[in-house]
Symmetry: C2
Subunit: 329 residues, 2 copies
């Protein structure tokens, strides 16, 4: 199915209306013209079903009303939610969204950046942990969850505070010894602060805390070994677990049940993200909820902001706790 040619242009409209090209342009852009002219032009537009050519417009005005949004994929519900919210915020402002799914591949990320630059997007919102990402400074760039440098605003949840909150909630609910579980990129990024907050709150409460941190790519089974080691045969090295994401909390809860442990009666589990079944039903586990709508709104506001207004380099938005059945409330 290839495109048919010959969509009507402004010139066609002008001829149809019997006016000059410039007049048509003025009508379209809301610049006052004589009433009778306006009516004729509008009629011609209607009659020919004229649509302005954004490519000609963009070429001329050097403004494309398009933002590129880069995420690893649309498999993880968190990324989906981020993209969904950003899409809404952009649509509100009549901006278009170019979606770039990178599959965590630095080469694809870089390729998408080049594409976006060629495409003359008005900005890029990117969720990437690739420290070597090169973006020419001409293109406004907003990062989610990773701090690239003072010149690139980063928007994130209050990961540190969220980690603290997780520890506090577990302790409130009666836990005496805690564990922190994480798998993911070892690269510095904002979500890594979840651990720091968690540890600090444990220390403040004088509650012991064990860590198990796996590098990306390690098979999940390593966690099951860890659980066996600390919880098998009635051993209880800890009675509360904070998982770095809801996805991990979900799998860990499954493993615990397979071991014959009851959640939340024997062990309580808290995740992070605030994911819901099918995006809008119950929480998958007790969790620290990220303010995704606010993150999206902030990113969009920043990326569209006038460059002169110097943006903050890091914005952390508040999280909250939501019970989801894996803690004793």
């Amino acid at each position: 199915m290839s495109k048919q040619n010959s969509a009507p242009t402004m010139k066609d409209v002008a001829r149809e209306a019997g006016v000059a090209l410039g007049t048509v342009s003025k009508v379209i852009n809301g610049i006052p013209v004589g009433e009778s002219y306006r009516v004729r032009v509008e009629a011609a537009i209607e009659k020919l079903n004229y649509r302005i050519n954004s490519y000609a417009q963009g070429l001329k005005s050097n403004k494309t009303y398009t933002i590129a949004v880069m995420v690893p994929n649309l498999v993880s519900p968190y990324f989906c939610k981020v993209v969904n919210c950003i899409n809404r915020e952009l649509a509100k402002r009549s901006y278009r969204m170019l979606l770039c799914a990178t599959d965590y591949d630095p080469e694809q990320e870089q390729a998408y950046v080049i594409m976006a630059e060629q495409q003359k997007v008005d900005g890029i919102i990117c969720l990437s942990y690739n420290p070597k990402l090169q973006v020419s400074p001409q293109t406004p760039l907003i990062s989610i969850d990773r701090y690239f440098g003072a010149h690139i605003p980063c928007v994130a949840s209050d990961n540190f505070g969220g980690g603290m909150l997780a520890a506090q909630k577990l302790i409130e609910n009666g836990c005496k010894r805690l564990a922190f579980l994480r798998i993911g990129s070892r690269l510095t990024n904002e979500p890594n602060k979840r651990r720091d907050g968690f540890v600090q709150a444990c220390e403040a409460a004088e509650i012991p805390c064990i860590m198990k941190i796996l590098d990306d790519g390690t098979p999940y089974e390593a966690f099951e070994d860890f659980l066996q080691e600390h919880l098998a045969d009635g051993k209880r090295d800890f009675d509360g677990i904070f998982c770095v994401t809801d996805a991990l909390a979900h799998r860990i809860t499954g493993s615990l049940k397979k071991m014959g442990l009851r959640v939340p009666e024997d062990i309580q589990v808290i995740g992070f993200d605030g994911l819901q079944a099918f995006g809008d039903l119950e929480y998958l586990c007790s969790t620290i909820v990220q303010p995704v709508e606010e993150i999206a709104r902030t990113c969009v506001e920043l990326v569209l902001e006038d460059r002169d207004a110097k943006s903050p380099s890091l914005i952390c938005l508040p999280v909250h706790y939501a019970p989801g059945g894996t803690t004793r409330e």
Copy 2:
């Protein structure tokens, strides 16, 4: 953050390399030029960090290498998976994707179509049940899951076959009386055929079958009343349920458990879609799996296909069954 001006143009490259504009264009487009010229031009491109301007290119060539993809949202995991797969297929072919989330709102859908036309996209892939959607015939359009007419190719799963398969599997697993549950748009669309296939297979096997079909917007509780009515106090009007989607199967399973019924021991449940937890873990329920990758690939192939090659008006792709713990295997 507004864009800085003055990205280098072909003219700058030509000046830097000391050649004519046309020569630069040829180098970029792989048209043979003298070796020494090529080298100089490439060096200049590198030095200036030149990026071709897609807007100028698109204006000139009337080809934008952009496809608009319209879905209701990125909340439902099924839509996310569709978008994810289409994105991959487009990226493979160096096409860009303009994402349009419509929220099921016909006005937004129509607005997005107009936007896409202005944007001179090379085609639209749309998942919409809006029967009144107007798309000018110049823009190649492919529909997912809804048949609009012979001139608009529709790509869908074999919903009828999937419905049959669901009945067959329930019967194979020992069910004697079945039920079909559905909620959603009453408008004619491909997924409605799931019921027809299910009914036909029940009739062929001489198995009785009860339906409960709710209009969009009806509160979910109507299903719980239905279940009470037919299954409370040891009554067993049916022992197998086919739900029109995994999302519904998930909720129904929860309701059954709340009623004290065991799944799959007392009642077996099959859904439709093939959704997995976090997009890549276990199935949420026993299910008829849609071939989303193939659907995506087919849509992309069709939308990019030469218009002269007259496309089929309906393509149904085969589904398969996957056990997911809500049936007795």
